[in-house]
Symmetry: C2
Subunit: 189 residues, 2 copies
DNA sequence: TCAAAAATTAAGACCTGCTGCTACTAGCTC
DNA sequence: GAGCTAGTAGCAGCAGGTCTTAATTTTTGA
């Protein structure tokens, strides 16, 4: 690690701390080829808490996070919603959504995005998926942003017919037709 | 907090630490009306690490957990596999797989279980989901164990037709037909 | 080119939350 | 009374810092 300008070093510092929050000042100092004191000053300027503080934050955060990550009722980010009609959601394909070998996204993510969106746009308190017909058109890779657009095309009794089309920035990658059922009274399908 | 017998105190200690891992020895000592030293001895006997250790564990755990939760290539536990023919997998529905209100399992879990199983039984290096037709027959609740059985019913070129049927301990709750495509050369579907 | 400003390093006292060790006491039990 | 367990106490030392004061080096601007 060669010596670099202050600004550059501070950027590197931020980066390192983000990637490996478990580094002590001493280790950081070695990595960046400056003294421990300099690291401390940098942390002060940048508002980066000390190792123990960082760890503590993660632990506290983690307690909630582990829950909330899985708890998210919607896979993807709702970016538009017209209850009872349509909705749009965005999902970024990250490294942990793909097969290690092929780097192709596992199908459940597209399905989950579509399924939760289909759920979300229906204006009823209790909705479950009844039937799904899905087609994967092209493989999706890491880093792609998937836009799913859902639309209720028909309602019959407690059954909602929803179409979802998912695009990346170039083409349609996935489409699905769902029959969603609003539960509550209706026990038969 | 009245003084209690050693065994009782140690049980309480374990309990407190589990519930609130962020308590220092001093606070624990106050809570249990003994000296700090006693708490230290107790921790030693019980193999409870110090505050910083506990926090650190949580933080590390959390980092992996977030990843590994999503990383599992197969949703559910493979309990039988005849490559190229069939397979069986087991999935326990836990509290974080259900809708908070209704306690009904979100559909993607059954789909994901089926989809990964369908993937797993195909004897080819690169397989993606092409088409899926799924039907949810009855809602699934927390605590149920789902047994998915998959079978390859037809192979045509690089396309594999797979049927998956998922039961709980009483009845069929879900079924799916997949067309899986072994990738590699074949770019068209 | 030279002084002022900025950046870096150093040194020392202090903090928290411990570990590890030795020592002591009280209460019971055989 | 000897021997045991359980509980306390005190002190040195450690990691990984904070906070402060000060000296040294580098850069920069006029």
């Amino acid at each position: 690690m060669a010596r670099v300008k202050k600004k550059v070093r501070q950027q590197l510092l931020v980066q390192q701390v983000r990637e490996k929050p478990f580094l002590t000042d001493e280790e950081l100092a070695r990595n960046l080829a400056v003294s421990v004191q300099t690291i401390r000053l940098d942390r002060l300027e940048l508002g980066i808490p000390e190792l123990r503080g960082r760890i503590r934050q993660m632990a506290e955060h983690a307690q909630n996070k582990v829950k909330s990550i899985q708890k998210s009722e919607v896979v993807g980010e709702l970016i538009d919603l017209e209850l009872g009609h349509s909705g749009i959601s965005l999902l970024r394909i990250t490294d942990d959504m793909v097969f290690e070998k092929s780097k192709i996204a596992r199908g459940h993510y597209m399905f989950s995005q579509a399924d939760s969106l289909a759920q979300a746009i229906i204006d009823a308190p209790l909705v479950v998926t009844g039937v799904a017909n899905v087609k994967y058109k092209v493989p999706v890779h890491v880093g792609e942003k998937l836009i799913a657009k859902a639309e209720i095309v028909k309602v019959r009794g407690n059954k909602y017919f929803v179409w979802v089309k998912t695009h990346n920035d170039r083409q349609e990658v996935f489409r699905a037709k769902f029959i969603m059922v609003s539960w509550a009274e209706a026990k038969g399908m």
